[in-house]
Assembly symmetry: C2
Homo-oligomer: 271 residues x 2
């Protein structure tokens, strides 16, 4: 048992709840941990709840019933999401990012722990209510965004690979055409990776034609699972007809003018 002053107890409760987003804790968990009455813990939680609202960092949810308790829901307000997306657009418009072939360099953003966490927080805000069982992504660039999202939703991450290894065990393989590279690729997922009848959320960094997302849907079928959400950081405005239509794209890349050094990228309002 941990004997703490009231202000330390409140800080400890905030940390425990926000360190494990979406995880349900019973009040009994805290009364035992701190050796105080339920009414005291309820008061402390109200203080934490009020702080989260004041600072726009999500909210605390109460789940009624015998298996109930409280959990931290890490959703952001639309105003905060807009602010974050506008900031990202400014960064992604820097002309030094232009690569030949109409691509833009994004690795410094999607591999940056702080930014990957922010982007994951936006995805988690959009998909929190979808009862997702697994976040799924294809190696390699979307992994950190997918991981951040999975952490906030308190569910496992599944990474589909292009090549299998001995240490993966028996696997399911499917072939698909990636729109970005316009070539035939293979998706491989170990049989042990997914429970049957699960609801999946596919997260990726970039969508052009939607071939990868379509491949994930087919792979999901092989595991008797369904893709209940698709979230990408950037999608291109062309081709406008993608191979999937039920996706959320945070930013749209409208054009990359190599000659003038102009990148036209805009945030989307997904609400």
């Amino acid at each position: 048992m941990l004997k703490l002053h009231k202000s330390q107890r409140i800080a400890a409760i905030l940390k425990i709840l926000t360190d494990s987003p979406s995880k349900v804790f019973t009040l009994g968990h805290f009364t035992e941990m701190f050796g105080v009455a339920k009414s005291t813990i309820s008061e402390d939680i109200d203080t934490v709840r009020d702080l989260l609202l004041k600072t726009d960092q999500g909210y605390i949810d109460t789940i009624p019933g015998a298996s109930g308790g409280i959990r931290y829901v890490p959703v952001l307000s639309q105003a905060k999401i807009s602010k974050l997306l506008n900031k990202l657009c400014i960064e992604l418009s820097e002309k030094e990012r232009i690569l030949s072939g109409g691509f833009i360099y994004m690795l410094d953003i999607i591999y940056n722990p702080e930014k990957a966490d922010e982007i994951g927080r936006i995805f988690a805000s959009y998909f929190f209510n979808k009862n997702i069982d697994y976040v799924i992504t294809v190696e390699t660039k979307g992994i950190l965004l997918a991981f951040s999202t999975a952490k906030l939703l308190n569910i496992p991450l599944v990474i589909v690979r292009h090549y299998s290894e001995a240490a993966d065990g028996a696997s399911v393989n499917i072939n698909y055409i990636s729109g970005t590279s316009s070539r035939l690729q293979t998706m491989i997922l170990p049989l042990k990776a997914l429970k049957r009848n699960s609801r999946l959320l596919f997260i990726d960094d970039f969508m052009k034609g939607g071939g990868t997302a379509k491949g994930i849907k087919e792979l999901a079928k092989q595991f008797e699972c369904t893709v209940e959400g698709i979230g990408v950081l950037v999608s291109t405005s062309e081709p406008s007809a993608k191979l999937v239509d039920d996706y959320i794209s945070l930013l749209t890349l409208k054009s990359v003018e190599e000659r003038n050094g102009i990148i036209n990228i805009v945030p989307n309002a997904n609400y």
Copy 2:
């Protein structure tokens, strides 16, 4: 400015510091944010410091001087590290994990957000004082462990790939022999990915011969960088002579007896 009661202010300071481990905040940052005197903030920080010590979650460091301030150092005690490693060994010894060829299935652990975070916290504890500039890893399995470590050290992650893409820009390629697969592989890293003269920490999930770690050292040279630390979750006891010798392995896989269903894996004391 955010007007908060003392207990909410303390909770908010704890969250801000622990959400950005290793990042230096000036006292002025908090006096401005909350509109209170420096002496009040100092008291609040003492309360946070005391709480972190009581709960064995690292400590708060004071950096003196004009550019000084405070930062949260996310190191764990040796006792807590031992406890976490023992728990991991029990999980990794489950006989269902045995794959043919003497491998064990670890994806459910190394892709689990909560566990990847715990393992990252152990690596961060060991390498915190090494003044690392980047965490580096090779796709795919070590990525989440490397990401968690990078997040705790407040530095960027760099992911080396086996195949290049148009959206990566100009790259450096080197060939190496992976001990796990005993085949020639390629490592590719975009020229933009690392600043010259940086200190790198290589993190991976598994080490058998050490070929990948050796390859990373050679790749680092091409960028005029140095590998100042190597951390792997599991290394095999055979071959005992690895191609690198200055590495930290959290667990040692001594044997996998397919016939009897026995996995012999033990924690290492790296202190």
